[in-house]
Amino acid sequence: MRRLSLFNSVSLTLGFAFLYLPMLILIIYSFNKSKLVTVWAGFSTQWYGELMQNEAFLDAAWVTLKVAVVSSTIATVLGTMAAYALVRGGRFFGRTLFSGMVFAPLVMPEVITGLSLLLLFIGIGLDRGVLTIILAHTTFSMCFVSVVVSSRLSTFDRSLEEAALDLGATPFAAFRLVTLPIIAPAVVSGWLLAFTLSLDDLVIATFVTGPSATTLPMKIWSSVRLGVTPEINALSTILIGLVATGVITASLVSKRNLVRMQREERAAERAQ
């Protein structure tokens, strides 16, 4: 087996230290007793307790969760449809415009997306609040979903769908019984991506929200503007912990499945 050279070992160590040390410090200091974030005064979980008492944060968290669940679910449906239309739709009127509209939001600065949606909502007289945030988040995250799903679809063996048609399935049945189960992992990761994008978004939500709805990132933003607080550290730790657990579990599960599948394939070839 090849061993890493000194240069490569150093690059990896420094690179990953750079990526993870800031978060690690944040997590460690969320358990700090002192109100002064940079002075260690002993272990304590008091900031987590205070966070749980903080109505404003809890309300914002609830709003954020609602927005994220609803918008990512709609975005997954729309994004999957868009991906299907792009990869399998063949030629249709305005296809170029459509694919442009699917990909443009990926590179659009958030300030512009936010501003333009705000102008629309005001133009049509829609009350700004949870609904407008959901609409805005659905719009930009459906594009991410469609990129994830369409990259899976484009490597999808088309003859599987043809086989289903050939065996008597209607096009819709072929999609439901064959395509969807096979691309399901991509659809799920599209949903997760949409969900975290929505959880994360500050700029667009700030533009399109009204006084009735404040999301967690907006709440964090307004406290952070005033400096580092142990409460925000605690909140950050919780969020990082949740995401890390989710992502690591997902990748372990998919890795285990892959390993099992490869083992079974080898066994089947040997058994012949």
Partner: protein, 291 residues
């Protein structure tokens, strides 16, 4: 029939919530600010003919007269460019080392690069405030080991903005470069060395040119979002840090001058078209090269 529905639903959604708002930005960038709700005129209520006749390029002219704006554009370009180069310098060695790492480590390393991308952007930027502030961890550490005697002022300067951009966008740099290097046939390097190249020479003549598409892709993926960045300059930058995303946000929320904010947005988009088109061309070329 079903195909039509399949296409129409996402199509109409994007038309209504992406394209139309986009045109509204254009339209409003040519309107005048008025003290009303909405705070610009004319609107559709004034009739179409009236609407068209009152639109003008006044706001764009205004952008050229007040040097705040063009300085902000230039400074955004400069910051985004320098940050991209720095991110490349940080990201390339990591991507290279990942591609050279033993096969069974690679999925884990990949996951470690992707993981920060899933965690909150805001929190990751926030983490640096505690590190870079005058009595933050970096200064404490450096003074502790005796490198400096006075704390450095890093927070609220452009340096902090660079660090923030590198930190948040380095995964975007690492992944495409790693993908390009991972595909690289190891026997090419062996062939080059067999033909008399030194290790370093083999890297410059073989590895680096073949990872060029990954490097370009990574650079655009960092440069494009960095140009319109708002959160990083607002949190880590100082009052002297001029970035167009920040200017736009302030124009909109503090000055409430929506027409000027829209004009700023339109110009930003025009500037962005160049790198986006270059990025697309690069991706297309890479795809063709693969076939």
């Amino acid at each position: 029939m079903r195909r039509a529905v399949l296409i129409a639903v996402p199509y109409l959604w994007l038309l209504a919530l992406f394209l139309i708002p986009f045109f509204m930005v254009f339209k409003i960038s040519m309107s005048d600010a008025i003290l009303a709700i909405p705070p610009y005129g004319p609107t559709m209520k004034d009739g179409f003919r009236e609407l068209i006749s009152q639109l003008d390029f006044e706001n764009f002219v205004f952008l050229t007269t007040d040097d705040l704006y063009w300085k902000a554009y230039l400074s955004s370009l400069k910051i985004a460019f320098i940050a991209t180069v720095l991110t490349l310098m940080v990201g390339y060695p990591v991507a290279y080392a990942m591609a050279r790492a033993p096969e069974e480590w690679r999925p884990t390393l990949m996951m470690l690069v992707i993981l920060p991308f899933w965690t909150s952007f805001l929190i990751r930027v926030y983490a640096w405030i505690g590190i870079l502030s005058t009595n933050g961890f970096l200064n404490q550490f450096l003074m502790g080991i005796g490198v400096i005697s006075e704390p450095l002022t890093i927070l609220n300067t452009n340096t902090a903005v660079y660090i923030g951009i590198i930190y948040t966008y380095v995964p975007f740099m690492i992944l495409p470069i790693y993908a390009a290097l991972d595909r690289l046939d190891a026997s090419l390097i062996e062939a080059a060395e067999d033909l008399g190249c030194s290790r370093f020479k083999a890297f410059w003549l073989i590895t680096f040119p073949l990872s060029k598409n990954g490097v370009f892709a990574g650079c655009f993926l960092v440069f494009i979002p960095a140009l319109g960045e708002f959160v990083i300059p607002s949190l880590l930058g100082g009052s002297s840090t001029l970035m167009i995303g920040k200017v736009l946000f302030e124009e909109f929320s503090f000055n409430r001058d929506w027409p000027v904010a829209s004009a700023v947005a339109v110009v930003l988009l025009l500037i962005l078209i160049v790198p986006i088109v270059l990025f697309q061309m690069n991706q297309q070329r890479a795809q063709e090269a693969e076939q």
